[in-house]
Every structure is written in C-alpha cells, then in structure tokens.
Amino acid sequence: MNLKRFIFNKRSLIYLVVLIFLLIIPFILSPFNLILFESAITFAIVGLGFNLLLRYTGLLSFGHGAYFAAGAYAVAMVGRYVPSIYSIEFLIPIAIIASLVLSAIFGFICVRHTKIFFAILTLALSMLLFALLFKFYSVTGGSDGLYIPTPSIFGVTFKRRPEFLSGPYYYFLLVIFIICYMVMKVIVSSPFGKALQAIRDNETRAELIGIRVKRYRFYAFIISGTFAGIGGSLWTFVNGHVTPDVSHWFFSGEIVYMTLLGGFFIFEGPIIGAFVFTFLKLYAMGFTEYWMGIIGVTLILLVLLLPTGLAGGVVTIFNKLKTRKVLGGT
C-alpha cells in the first residue's frame, strides 16, 4: 500500500490519533479511573457483539448477560477447579467455548422468533441461567459468587492485583479489543454480514435470494454471544469477583442501554456507549443512593430526545455544520 496515501487518509488519521490516545491512557488516568476504563473496554467488546444482532440482524436480545456470564463463570470455574491451567492464554479460549456452546443452545430456541417474542425469550433463558447460578451454590458460590484470582499472562505471574491491572493487563486488553474490533468490522462488511442485513430488511426476499434465514440468524446469534463471552471473561479479571447478577436481565438491560446510549446506528456507537455508561453509572452511584433513578431518567430522555444516541447526535450536528458552511459559501 502507498504509505503516503495511507498517512493522509482522513480515516487512518483518526485511527492513529485514537490508538496513540489509548496507548498513553495508563499514564494519564488515576489507578481508579484506569480500572474503570478497563472494564469499559470489556463492555465495548460486549457491545460490538450485541450490535451484530441489533443493528445488523434486527434482533433485540434482552438476555446477553447470559453469554457474558458464561465467559465470566468459565474463568471462575477454572480458577476454582483446575487452578493448574489458570493462565490467561488458556482461560480466554475456554471462555470462548463456554459462551459459544451456551449461545448455540439458547440460540437454537430463540432464532425461530423475532421482535418481542425474541426479546422475551432471550430474557427468560438468561433468567434460567441466573436461577441455576444462584441456586447451585455448592458449585457456583450462589449469590456470594466466586472469587477471581489474578491470572498469569504467558507465564508471567503477578503478586498483587493492582500491579497486574495497572499496566500489563491494560495492554493485553487493548490488543484483544483491537482484534475484536477489526474482526467485527470485517464481519459486518463481509458477504455474510450483508446477508444478515438482507434478513433484517426483508426476510421474505432474503429467503427468495437463497439465504437460509434461520440458519444465518443462528450464526449471528452465536457470534454475538461469543463476543459477549469474551467480554465477560476479560471483565472478571478487572472485577476480581463474579456473581449471578451478570446473568440477570437487569444486566442485559444495561447492555441494551449502553448500545443505545452510544448510538446503535453507527458501528462505533456501542463502544462510545460502553465508556460513557461505565463512568456515568459509577459516578451516579457515588453521587446519590438514587442512582437507578438517574440512570432511568437519562434513559427516558435519551429515547425521547436523542434516539440515535451520542454518536448519532454528533453526526447530526456535524452534518448541520457542514450544510451551513456550504450554504454560507454560495
């Protein structure tokens, strides 16, 4: 590729600026905010997966917490029962398999439906997992949840969590995030991604042009759930603890909220949403005991006033400025 052209391409320039910004984050943020930032990255990965279903396949899942939980509990279980392989390069693949299997089982039931029924079903199934995690406390720790030890990364071990979270894990997370971002970016622009969008727009016609609608929805469901599982497994290391709450539909609702907050019409929207939501929630919690009400009110305002989300809002303002400039020029 022509290097000069690459450098002067506007899009690559934005990517470069963002990348540099992400690289120096650990030197800018306080340890507390860095941990928040890290958990936001894991939610951003979940959001990427979630939006494959919502934006590109037209399916609203209200149970993505279940696949997040599958990834998270896979890590916790290995930590509890097979500590000998408790190292991140094993844990991530195990989490991927766990969430893939769970989303295949649940997906099989859910993809036969669309719209509200799909939403209720995903919700009910995630609550099934919640009930199991909650009640089988001898295995899962019940409502107390399970402790997540600090893992080793490629043989390097860490004595204390802060040491692990302050640098090495951040960059590990960043690499995984960039991979997930690129993979999803390719998926949505691939022929497969186009097939999903065709199904979203017109199921009848998609069937007519030879797309197996349910099967493709199923594939999308699995990919989406697996992304949630990757996010969940990465999140546990930041949080140090996992409880069944991540499989509760409330948590799934937060994933939906994040995505809409950022703006699901835009590929990067859920990522922006993940960051804003993570900080908003934590600061709301620190500010008042009525943080749920605050989240609720912002959600209501968002739906009524800014349905395209923050990213959508920015784009609208940008377009307005552009047209004004053009008008001014003539």
Partner: protein, 293 residues
C-alpha cells in the same frame, strides 16, 4: 392428602401470576408493547395496600375496611399506569421495538427509586386481612382462608375480564385492535384512547395482584422483580397476547412452582424455566400463540 394442599398452593400462586400476566398480555396484545415496568406497577399496588393497612391499624376501624382498602393498590397502580402511558409511552407508538422496551426499562429503574423515596427502604408488614380470616380445616390440613379468597377473586376477575372483552363496546374494540390494528384504524376506532384504556386496565390488574399478595408477605424493595419474570414465563408458555394462554400458562407455572418447591427445593425456578424451554422447543409459538409475521 398433602398433595391436595400443594394443588391449592399452586392455584394460589397461579391466581396472582394470572392477574399480573393478564395485564401484561392485554397491554402486549392491544398495544404491541412489552411493559418491563409491569413489575413496578405490581409493587406500587403492594406498597399502597400495605401502607394503607398499616396506617389503618391505629384506628378502630371495622374489619371489612381492611379488605376494601386493598383496592387502593389497584386504583393507584391504574392511575400511575395512566400517567406512564400518557407521558412516556404514547409518544413511542410508531417507533422501533427497542425504544419502546427501553422506555419501560427506564420507567422501571425510575419507579424503583420513587418507591424507595415514597415508602422508604423498610419492609411493610400488613398481615391484618390475612389474620382476620384465620384458617380452615380441609380434611385434616390447616389452610389459610385468605389464600382461598385470592383464588376466588382471581376467578371473578377472569370472568369479569372475559365479560368486559366479549360484551362491552370498549372490550370488543380492544379485541379488534389486538387482531388487526390497521383494520381498527380503518374502522375509525379511537386508537389512542383505546390504548390508554388497555394500559390502565393492565396496570390496575398488576396493582390488584400486588395488593392481594401484600398481606401474605413482607413488602420489600424489589418486590415486583420475581413476579414480572414469572409473568414473562407465562407469556412465553401461553403465547404472545393470548388471554387463554395467560390463564393456562399461569396454572402451569403456579402448579410447577408449588410442586417444584416440594420435590426440587432450591431449584424450583430453574425447573420452571426448563419446562418453559421444552414447551417452546415443541411448540415454538407457545401453547395458544398465533404466529405473527
């Protein structure tokens, strides 16, 4: 004859779940909206009833008043439903599903904190109606009469709702709307007013359910969460927007729960979800669901 008691318990559970899921299903069928704040309306009904009963305790009032006052829960929940529909939900009828779901989710979060602000974070104990009625000896088993009363009320409500939908003008119009909204529009029905009707009715039913449960258990924050999920399971088993489905689904859920608690204590909820999932694998649209394209 213990199983007899389990069946009765199952009917009692089914009765409250039925009232909730009936409301949920009316809203779903007529408006096409899944109301995630439905559990909060149930909780509002419960808190109102519990608060009224405990406030009344200091006065020397006739016993029957503590039963009549339970209706306060249904009335307030219906009123809150009216406000909710008019302010937040009505602007969203022509918008995509995710917005409709999220606005009710936002309302749910808001209600949880409003309940905390209005009624405080402490539990309400309002067992007076339960205590007044006492217990009855059913072939050797002592059983609370209040549970039987709730079952009777649920049956009466079911019959009244059926009559309302089958015989009254508004009821017939509501059914027409749930079958074919475009046709209903073409016939010149006042769609917006009917939607408000449906929502208020659904909210009041949820409030009634909460009020009826209030005397049997401490009323706490997060009171509406589990019933809401059970109502979802009923909707899933019975079929989307089907009133018959709500009835049969509630019976199934109530009985499974009652027997599940005895046979599989601890995991009775998981068993319930599993059975729901199996029903769906066999009959994807639910027992009485119409497949909507």
């Amino acid at each position: 004859m213990e199983w007899f008691i389990y069946i009765l318990n199952g009917l009692y559970y089914a009765s409250t779940i039925f009232l909730i899921s009936l409301g949920l299903n009316i809203i779903l069928g007529v408006m096409g909206i899944l109301n995630l704040a439905h559990g909060s309306l149930y909780a509002i009904g419960a808190f109102t009833a519990a608060w009224l009963i405990t406030s009344l305790a200091g006065w020397n009032s006739p016993d029957v008043l503590s039963f009549i006052i339970l209706l306060g829960g249904a009335i307030l929940a219906g009123f809150v439903g009216l406000l909710l529909e008019r302010t937040l939900i009505s602007p969203l009828y022509n918008r995509a599903l995710e917005y409709q779901l999220l606005i009710t989710f936002g309302a749910l979060l808001l209600f949880e904190d409003l309940i905390k602000i209005v009624w405080g974070g402490e539990a309400y104990y309002a067992s007076k109606p339960f205590d007044i009625l006492g217990k009855v000896d059913l072939s050797g088993n002592i059983y609370p009469i209040y549970f039987l009363l709730v079952i009777v009320i649920a049956i009466v409500v079911k019959l009244l709702t059926w009559l309302f939908l089958a015989r009254t003008r508004v009821g017939i119009m509501l059914r027409a709307m749930s079958l074919d909204i475009e046709m209903a529009t073409a016939l010149g029905l006042q769609i917006n007013r009917l939607r408000t009707w449906a929502f208020v009715l659904g909210a009041a039913l949820a409030g009634l359910a909460g009020a009826l449960v209030a005397p049997t258990t401490p009323v706490l924050l997060g009171f509406g969460m589990e019933p809401l999920i059970l109502a979802f399971v009923v909707v899933v088993i019975g079929g989307l927007g089907s009133l018959k489905g709500a009835f049969i689904g509630s019976l199934i859920v109530g009985e499974i729960r009652s027997f599940g608690i005895v046979i599989f204590p601890e995991i009775e909820l998981a068993i319930l979800y599993l059975i729901a999932a199996i029903i769906l694998v066999i009959k994807p649209e639910g027992l009485f669901g119409r497949i909507k394209s």
